[in-house]
Symmetry: D2
Subunit: 349 residues, 4 copies
């Protein structure tokens, strides 16, 4: 039976290869706290893939990865610039403020979930006037692929990195869906991260087929000095860490992470193409990875929900009785699932 | 000789009546930590003036008053809405985040330094979409008179209070220049505070002629339960508190606080009127209290600074080689000071 | 081949029944964030076992469970009394201070890792003298079974609860090895928790055969108001929470948790009995659950470590060239493992 | 009439020379936030007196000075060793935890309010066992003169500094009554501070005749990098800072600070000598500065309190119906005040 759950890629189960790897890891005793062999292998493999010696720390939620990363990049009185719709701003219940000990998030406007140099310049210009009380700008955090499913090109990343450098901002990338960006752009991991100026990457595996498999990838070794302590004191140091490492080992075998992402992206394209044919639906932003945003009449959304389809209302729109909704596909989405949804939508149109 | 210092009303000295009161308080031993007689008299007198039994706590900076007030109104994961140019957002080096244990300030746009219901509604609509991770809205903080020297009318305050109530927001007023608002509007302290929905008022005396004389006025007794502890653990509980109380006693005798404010406001009007006559200068926002904002050519600003005038560059403008500057008057500003500045400006025009 | 790893029960693998349950849970999509069916079943089953409607929240580390629990029981300026050797004091890198926003841990001395009413009374008497600056006592945290492997009897718990109540202290139990206490005493879960005055229990499953399976069990519903927000903002809300729930479902089937604990306890007894026969070794504290503390000559410890045995040096001793070491058994320890270790020890004696 | 207030040296009024200096400072406008001339003069004068270029920051409470100092010396997850009766541990409502963002205070036992190398070694040995979760030792904070009025000799300071250095601990001195130590020992400011290993000194002026005059004296310039921001975000940056500086200028003229301290110490000696003659009173700790600790029958204490004498009950004692009380003298205490108290005590004996 078709699965009509497009609420989030975190509704998906664990990829069988990942589950197998977890089960295979379950042999005998092992050193805890990341001192195990699997954790070392993952660090080495990530370094290889990113073409640079990285320090890699596993945690179980993207939120934790983001909070720990930001706590390394901003003092408690620093300012972190980010998109006004960034997950760290609107979806983590004040987590960056908690982890940094009180840093201020300065939201920046921008089309399609993307930061632009102009947007950042405006936000900086509007913020304070250089009094001794103006908190210092510390970091820039951007999401790739974005919360709207869109992508930063290499040129766009380069412009943002230049601006960040000029303002002395460290750069954090929330890569909860980094693999989807890799798959969509064809760029290498290095090109989309440290070569683009990123100091710390939150690298998501959970939505990509993992169970709870997020990595903090630190490119600048000077930054890791207190990472270990901060992870411990936030309760994110697993004792049986080998089961986290096993998930990433599986995702990296035969490039499974990119295959999973490519598949999820393709399913979103199928969905987007199909929705274009359904008259009252409009799509306000380009579909570049595995998220589709669709404006539809409230009655249609209700009919779909009543029929069992799962997806989130995202925002109000200017059009009366219409709202913007989000549909997310995953490694587990099947073409038939999309077709079933589209059929339902057509009948509700 | 004329004083050309219009940088801030906190450059002014202490009013002689306040200094006398401090000196008069200096007799024999007294109970510390606000248990002295003068502190009790101030609480009683403020309650009388505000027509309500208030709890009144003295601290020495407006920043501390704001931080402590907000820490009573928001949980560590709450959201505090405030104007994007509010002092708590841009001028306190992350103090609200520190005092609340990590609350998020959500900046709201608005003309002339003022919040509007529409601006707040837009900010709320753009913020999150009701996911479990969206941090809860906790409080609204507004400044009266504002950082741009403008005023909220009673009707405007009432509209904001209605909106706050509908969203379950507690209301904080940063009254660093509350007396200037009283003097300008002719309204009573009660009308501009709790009758307008304010839960806690930061009541400024330092800029009004005090040495360091800020009061946290708490209208809702249920809110004070942990105030004393928070003040102590932030280091803002003075041992020799009688010298803080003495300042406010002096400011309240014969309505000195309103007289001081009225005078400062009048000096700003004189400045504004004079500047209107100087061709290249424009004033982008109404002068309603003791702050004047003036756009002038950079060369003119330089000439004035070179001649010893003190005032802050506030922001860039769209006009090339022009910037927005701020001029602040105080209880100590003399008409001759303003005239001397205007003469200088005319010669630099 | 025998496993000589007695460093910690968290070196053990995942119990096969738990791993099977995780794999079985891996079917189709599910609601995230604990809204899944398995999470609901665990809450219901825990409530049944504890003979009371409990709120149950899954996290992945005992540290996180402790930090979140304590953040509900103490204001940021409160004092939490705990044993000077408690894990929350010495082994979590300041986590309770982080989660509570700055609460103070007041360490209390006590034999064999156990708090006593006398010890607590002394600590309170030595702490402050009732000045306005003395931070208020907020909570008592105790560990069952303790960090020394010892147990509180029901009478001891009752005395501590009486004292806590008299001082207005909330009561937290760190139950990282709660199952070991259940197995050793034969008491019911209720008798060792809420019936003994406990407000919130950190219930450990990871050391008991789980992968990462810790529950915060809240007995007082008034306390949960902000738990959900605090879990989210600390990054401990899993999206794919069903895989956490599955672990506890497995542990509770046919009382597996108690069987695992009983087995671990028995292995420790076998170890303790064996060590008694080895002349230079002394055991300074009673072996009541799955931890054995043994004082041995440094040369002997070195020989054992050189032979591949894993166990932690715990503390210095008064005896020159001797130190105290800790040996921990788990659900996975086999009688042959213990015998192999004992044989090694005899040969090193 | 005699003043019977021996509750604390912070009950005393402001010294007339200090009050005069404040009033004299009240001329015309001045730069705010410590940019004024008086603040610069104080920094220069302190540097001269301490025989080293110091950075000097004025705040208004000793608590704030301590909190800011410690926030420079410990990361949020660090451990600060201090005496179990230190003011920062028992009298500041969790302020060090707040300012450091969660550092842990590890209380150390010691006779007469003094830390000893043995006491510190024991505390360290009992604290943790080097697991990855053991929070790192960061700083040692000691009080000179101590909360019991006793003194560290130069040799004792040197031993503590050696131990601190071996453990990599930064050293903070709470000098709320530093002048009393100078006066009692005859040592120089440098000898009792940086030459004794102190990195940051909280230098108290309030109890010495000031109104609210505490200095943070930073000997290691590398430490000041973020001090300014931390002071601002805690609300302790005064706008009209010249009035703080004026107080210290007055205290340093003709060595008034040492004269005030010498006088206060002498008054305590007179009190201690007199109490020795009163049979039921015993003094458990040496009187070395301006604090006297006396054990007396409860009936006697009640009679003294009923007669209007002010002094604090400090602790219970082993002797039934007796308690330990504290008597503090100040620059304002007169010999007749002490005699009047002694006469009362004799009549109550």
């Amino acid at each position: 039976m078709a699965c009509l759950d497009f609420a989030s890629d975190n509704h998906a189960p664990v990829h069988p290869a990942v589950m197998d790897a977890i089960a295979r890891e379950n042999e005998g005793a092992a050193l805890p706290y990341g001192e195990d062999a699997a954790s070392a292998r993952v660090e080495a493999r990530i370094s290889e893939l990113f073409e640079r010696t990285c320090r890699v720390f596993a945690v179980t939620t993207g939120s934790a990865a983001n909070g720990l990363a930001l706590s390394l990049l901003s003092p408690p009185y620093g300012v972190i610039l980010t998109h006004e719709a960034a997950h760290i701003q609107t979806g983590e219940c004040g987590l960056p403020e908690f982890y940094t000990g009180g840093a201020k998030l300065l939201p920046v406007a921008g089309e399609n979930g993307k930061l632009t140099p102009d947007g950042i310049r405006t936000a900086i210009a509007n913020f304070g006037h250089g009094s001794p009380g103006t908190p210092p700008l510390a970091a820039l955090s951007l999401t790739q692929s974005t919360e709207m499913g869109t992508l930063y090109s290499r040129a766009e990343l380069s412009d943002l990195a230049d601006l960040a450098r000029r303002h002395g901002l460290a750069m954090h990338m929330d890569g909860a869906r980094f693999a989807n960006a890799l798959a969509a752009t064809g760029h290498s991991p290095a090109e989309l991260s440290w070569k683009a100026g990123v100091d710390i990457l939150s690298l998501g595996g959970t939505k990509n087929g993992g169970m709870a498999a997020e990595l903090v990838v630190v490119f600048d070794p000077a930054r890791v000095a207190d990472f270990e302590r901060r992870r411990k004191r936030s309760g994110h140091l697993w004792s049986k860490a080998r089961y986290l490492a096993a998930q990433w080992e599986a995702l990296l075998v035969d490039d499974l992470w990119r295959a999973n992402a490519r598949h999820a992206n393709a399913m979103a394209m199928q969905m987007a193409e199909g929705l274009k044919m359904i008259a009252p639906i409009t799509q306000p932003c380009p579909v570049e990875t595995n998220q589709v945003f669709a404006t539809m009449p409230d009655a249609m959304a209700k009919a779909l929900h009543d029929a069992g389809a799962l997806f989130h209302r995202w925002a109000a729109t200017d059009k009366p009785d219409h709202a913007l909704h989000r549909l997310v596909t995953s490694w587990a989405t099947q073409p038939d699932d999309v077709d079933a949804f589209l059929a339902l939508a057509r009948s509700a149109a």
